[in-house]
């Protein structure tokens, strides 16, 4: 594809996570080169994130009864049930895989399109309960500086990214999303380092590209440990983060 191929439809498909992995990567590179494209993507993401906020929270209950279905014989029910379970499990597996791939494409493209409003005030859209209330975590011992929060929406769910930048080209995203979201680390590109975990009702995904794998693994352990403990990284973690940073090469993002 060429720069002239970047149509509004393509940009919208990109923010909706509808492009293939190759197309999304190509567009992310184009956005990294051209601030005007990055700005258009950022605006589309802001619009996309703003629309779900139109809906007030409301608990909807299902009706307790509807008309009774025609009940077949017991044997047919048993056979049908077995078939349904087997088919359902297969469909559930296939569907989970598909959902996971969509989420992975979206999060990866969002991570790669790195754009933050540097003068942003502290974001109050962060969850006020659960471990995410701690964000941003202090990762200065790893020489990673907090650069901002972003709220985006995908598949009807709100996702918040906390971004960090290093002094040697490292870019780290920590995503918070509703727990139970189907997301598999293996669905991401192999060039992207990803660790995910859930704590209570919140899911977390840490991402970086170009970082030494050992350093990233240590960073993921420290972040998860801090969030599970409900406190900023402890002195031991800080020491390990600093050590890992000193002994690792610069990021190659």
């Amino acid at each position: 594809m060429q720069g002239t191929d970047i149509t509004p439809e393509l940009l919208n498909a990109y923010v909706d996570g509808e492009l293939s992995r190759d197309e999304a990567a190509w567009l992310a590179r184009a956005a990294a080169r051209d601030p005007a494209i990055a700005a258009r993507i950022a605006t589309l993401r802001e619009l996309k994130a703003a629309v779900p906020a139109l809906v007030p929270e409301r608990r909807i209950a299902l009706p307790s009864r509807v008309r009774t279905r025609v009940t077949p014989g017991f044997a047919a029910v048993a056979a049908g049930l077995l078939l349904l379970i087997a088919t359902g499990m297969l469909h559930l597996y296939l569907q989970s895989e598909s959902e996971s791939a969509r989420w992975a494409r979206f999060l990866q493209s969002h991570h790669e399109a790195w754009a933050f409003a540097r003068d942003a005030k502290p974001a109050r859209f962060l969850p006020t309960s659960g471990p995410a209330r701690l964000l941003p975590l202090d990762l200065e011992s790893a020489r990673l500086t907090f650069v901002g929060h972003q709220k985006v929406s995908f598949a009807g769910k709100t996702v918040v990214r906390t971004g960090y930048e290093g002094t040697r080209g490292c870019r780290v995203s920590l995503y918070v999303y509703p727990g139970g979201t189907v997301l598999d680390e293996s669905a991401f590109s192999q060039t992207l380092l990803v660790r995910k975990w859930e704590i209570g009702q919140q899911g977390f995904a840490l991402m970086a590209d170009g970082m030494a794998k050992v350093r990233f693994e240590g960073l993921a352990r420290a972040v998860e440990k801090a969030l599970r403990a409900g406190s900023q990284p402890d002195p031991g973690s800080r020491q390990r983060l600093a050590q890992a940073r000193r002994t690792s090469p610069p990021c190659q993002a």
Binding site: E9, D16, A39, L47, A50, V51, E57, I60, A155, G156
Partner: protein, 182 residues
């Protein structure tokens, strides 16, 4: 009575169905009624898609058809929702001042959009449908959904600009730039 598994499956979509319905009606009670009617129809159906994506599209199709049937009676479908229909306070969570202003601006702008734009925005951004699923709901090709969502976001952006130009509200985070598609 209906199968417990059906209920559980449907319950996981209630919030998204309600969001879709509210985005189109801007009326909490009408939206709740639409979701209720959709749930009754879905739970009463004999042929329920097993594939999850097909099931999702099927549910939103039921809701959409239910709304269209109701709208035919009241001519609701062809009118734009006046601002007086928009309750600016009730039921919304509080964020930062900037976020509240933005939410209000987008709400007003969204309410001014024609229903075809609101419909596709609600399907993709509120209901969280994929283009493929939306194409099943609206019975159009995926390429048409691509064009529609692009036009709808462009229209929303223009409405937001018009709203801010009125001096009623500010919309701070939108970065200004020269482009044809926004």
């Amino acid at each position: 009575m209906f199968h417990g598994g059906d209920r559980h499956r449907l319950e996981s979509y209630l919030e998204r169905l309600y969001g879709y319905a509210f985005s189109l009606t801007y009326d909490a009670h009408k939206a709740e009624d639409l979701v209720h009617d959709t749930a009754v129809k879905a739970l009463s159906a004999r042929n329920v898609p097993r594939d999850e994506a097909a099931y999702r599209a099927w549910l939103f199709t039921i809701l959409r058809n239910t709304m269209i049937d109701g709208s035919r009676k009241s001519s609701l479908r062809d009118r734009e929702f006046p601002e007086t229909d928009i309750d600016l306070e009730d039921g919304f969570s509080q964020g930062s001042e900037t976020e509240e202003v933005n939410a209000l601006t987008v709400r007003i702008a969204f309410g001014r959009l024609p229903v075809n734009h609101r419909e596709v925005l609600a399907a993709i951004d509120v209901a969280g449908l994929s283009y493929e699923e939306a194409s099943r709901v609206f019975e159009v090709p995926v390429g048409t959904i691509m064009s529609r969502i692009s036009r709808a976001r462009s229209a929303l952006y223009k409405q937001v600009e018009d709203t801010t130009a009125d001096g009623k509200v500010r919309f701070l985070p939108v970065r200004r730039h020269n482009s044809t598609g926004m």
